[in-house]
Each structure stands twice: as structure tokens, then as C-alpha cells.
Amino acid sequence: MSVETTKTPVDSAPENTELIRLDQVTKRFGDNTVLDHLDFCVKPGRHVTLIGPSGSGKTTILRLLMTLTKPDEGTITVDGQRLFPATEKQVREVRKKIGMVFQQFNLFPNMSVLRNITEAPVSVLGLSKDEAEERARELLDLVGLADKCDAKPSRLSGGQQQRVAIARALAMRPQVLLLDEVTSALDPELVAGVLDVLRDIARTTDITMLCVTHEMNFARDISDQVLMFDSGRVIESGPPEKIFSSPEQERTREFLSAVL
């Protein structure tokens, strides 16, 4: 692979097996081009980690997929359905397939932990309150917070809040889980609990994970593919063993020696 290539698919698989596909996506903020004609795809069930210096466009990809921001050019497809350009109705349909966990958790402070998790399944998926609560309790059990159902988020530690946020995203049964620096806002001693939960999910489900992180050990653990970003382009990609132990690009080596 050379630095000049703009087309950097994660896998060289035929198109119809790709779950996520970005074609020639460009995103600018003012004069700053964050993504530059990016091509990018992910096959179902893969765990892909995006690494790279801040400002390199990693988080922007997650935000584009979650429709929190729109590209200036290009097309985005998820599971064969168009996410951009698309009508509001199409977007709502595709968005059902995608869940996201944020750096700052973004739990709803006005709702109990349980309500945080049941709100969307009830109002969006049309589950009954009982069904949604049963699902929520199972998920809280999974993230080790079964006893916190009735607590308000503000009573929880950052790590606990993030685990609730993971449960909340999973309650929608998404095909894709986007993880945006989910441990960056946590005190160091709380990071492990969150990562354990995510490892568990990566191991026991077939959910596709797209992960932006600075936790290189975690990236090494869970990912099938690591993509190195720099200046809005993928400059190197491969299995974690290769990227972390024998990166080809000088830029990747520099970055890894700075963060490891």
C-alpha cells in the first residue's frame, strides 16, 4: 500500500458484503478539510479501530455515520441503504442500524438509569414498557449495574455512566456500534471496567464495532483491523499485530512511539 492511494478499503471484498461504505467523502469545516475524498468500508461483524493524531478526521467519520454532521461531498451507505444523500425518512430508517457511545456519555440527566435505556426502545421501536424494561435490566446486568436501575445518572461515577450509555446504545439492537473515545473522559481507574464490558460485547456478539480510541492495548485486543489516519486520509491499515509491531509508514511509527 502506498501513501498516495486514496482508495483504502478495509477489505478487498465484493461490494455487496460491505456493511458500511463511504465513497469519495469530503468534509470541510471552513477552510479546514477534515476528510479528503475518503473511501472507506467495513464488513459486517468486524471490529475496526481508527487511530491517528487528533484532528485527523477519525471522530468525523463516526459523526457522519451517526448523521450528527453531513459530508460536503460523497455518498455514505449502510447495509445497502443510502445514508447520504438521503431523505429524512431514509435517514431515520438507516439510523436504526447504528448506535453510538460518546466520550462525554451524554446520558439524559432528567431520567433514571432505567428510563435512559427504555426511552428509545419504547418511543422509537414501539416496544411495550415491560418488554423494554426487561431488555434494559438484562443489559444493565451485562454491564454490571443491575442495582442502579432507579439511580439518576448524576449519582453514578463516570465509568458507571459510560457503561449505562453502552447499555442504552445496545438496547436499540444496532448492527453497528460507534465508540467515540469512550474512555477519554474517565479517571484512569475507571477505564478498565468500561473496556472489559466492550471486550465482552466484542467477544459474545456479532455486532460491528467502529472505534476511535487512544487505548492502544484495547485496540490491539479487540480489533480485526486498525486504520491509521492522518490529515483526513487513511495512510495505513492492517491487522493490529502488523500495525502495532511493524508499521510500514514513517508517520504511523512516529504516532505510535508518541502514544505507546
Binding site: M66, G99, Q104, N106, L107, F108, N110, E119, R168
Partner: protein, 216 residues
């Protein structure tokens, strides 16, 4: 100047009647200003200019003209256009409308203060627009604005005597009525002055309790 306790006693029946009218005007005025202010604030958030502009102009106009002028306009001009309301209804409407242009700004600040992450989480969960407003944004925004809204209740209380000018017999109206009949001003005016202090103080106590319960 002598203080005549018997005048106070004689004024009390009128006082109670006036108090009820004042409190009614205050309650209804608050209700209108709170709900209409929220409507204005939400309309100002619609993406189309064709809604934002008229709402912006009308509310700016109402905010920048005196309440007294609005009272006179509604009371004396509307009937000429064929719309006759009782004095009390006109007064409540004027106070509610006038203060709604202030509460809308309070709501706007409250809505703006909800962190962007809340909107993003709602989008990520695919909540509908209505659901996002009702379940996520407004509960958080309104919790934040209760103290500011409460301050406007106290302002409104102090503006209720203006209703006297359109013949509503609230506290000041009753005091004037009594003075004109008995030629005693000191007692009734002092009594209603004290009443305003007591109501304001009770309202602020209530407000502080509410604040403590909501803003945790």
C-alpha cells in the same frame, strides 16, 4: 396624620375582595405568559424564516411598548373592532401577553443551555423531533428556568395595580374606592402595600423551595 385602626377594619372586606382579584389576575397572567412564552420560544426555533420573522417582530414590539399602553389598546380599541372582552379578561390577557415576550427569552436561554451532547444522544437513539423536545430538551430546559420565571411572577404581581386603570377592582382599585368614600388614604394604601410585600415574600420562599427541588 393619625392612624385609624377602625378604618383598617372597615377596609378589610374590600381588601379581601381585592386580594382575590389580584391573585386571580396574577395566576392567570402567569399561566398565559408561561405557556405563550414557550410557544414563542419554540416558534423561534423553527427553521423557516417565515415563522421566525413575524414572531420576532411581534414579540419585539410587545416587549418594547409599555404595558399600560397595551392595556388601553386592548380595552378601548379592540371593542371598536368588534371584540369585547371583560375588563378582567382584557387585563389578564395584556399581562400574560406582555410578560410572554420576556419569558420567551428565559426559555430560549434555558433551551440553549442544554448541552449539544443531549441533542446528539437523542439523534443517535433515533428519537423523533417531538420526542426529543418533550422527553429530553424541555424537561432539562424548564428545570433551569424556574428561578427566572419566578422572578417574572413577582414583577407581574407588582404590575397588577395597572389593571385599576381599566376598571378592574384589584387591591389598589379597592383601596382607592375606599378612600374616595371615606376620605382616608393612609390606612388602605398601607394595608395593600404590606399585602404586596407579604405576597412577594411568600412567592420568593415558594420559589426557593421549588428551585432546591428542581435544580439538584
Amino acid at each position: 396624620m393619625t392612624w385609624d385602626w377602625s378604618a383598617v377594619g372597615e377596609f378589610m372586606p374590600l381588601f379581601w375582595d381585592g386580594l382575590i382579584v389580584t391573585l386571580q389576575a396574577l395566576a392567570l397572567g402567569s399561566l398565559i405568559s408561561f405557556s405563550l412564552g414557550l410557544v414563542w420560544a419554540l416558534l423561534m426555533r423553527t427553521p423557516t424564516r417565515w415563522v421566525q420573522w413575524p414572531v420576532g417582530i411581534v414579540t419585539e414590539f410587545v416587549r418594547d411598548t409599555p404595558l399600560l399602553v397595551q392595556l388601553f389598546f386592548l380595552f378601548y380599541v379592540l371593542p371598536e373592532w368588534g371584540l369585547t372582552l371583560s375588563a378582567m379578561a382584557t387585563g389578564v390577557l395584556a399581562i400574560g401577553l406582555h410578560y410572554s415576550t420576556y419569558t420567551m427569552q428565559v426559555y430560549r436561554a434555558g433551551i440553549d443551555a442544554v448541552p449539544p451532547g443531549q441533542w446528539e444522544a437523542a439523534t443517535a437513539l433515533n428519537l423523533s423531533r417531538t420526542r426529543t423536545w418533550r422527553a429530553v430538551i424541555l424537561p432539562q430546559a424548564i428545570r433551569r428556568v424556574v428561578p427566572a420565571l419566578g422572578n417574572y411572577v413577582i414583577s407581574m404581581l407588582k404590575d397588577t395595580p395597572m389593571l385599576m386603570t381599566i376598571t378592574v377592582l384589584e387591591l389598589l382599585g379597592r383601596a382607592r374606592l375606599f378612600s374616595q368614600e371615606h376620605f382616608q388614604f393612609t390606612e388602605p394604601v398601607t394595608v395593600i402595600g404590606v399585602a404586596f410585600i407579604v405576597i412577594s415574600y411568600l412567592a420568593s420562599l415558594l420559589l426557593r423551595t421549588l428551585e432546591r427541588r428542581l435544580v439538584r
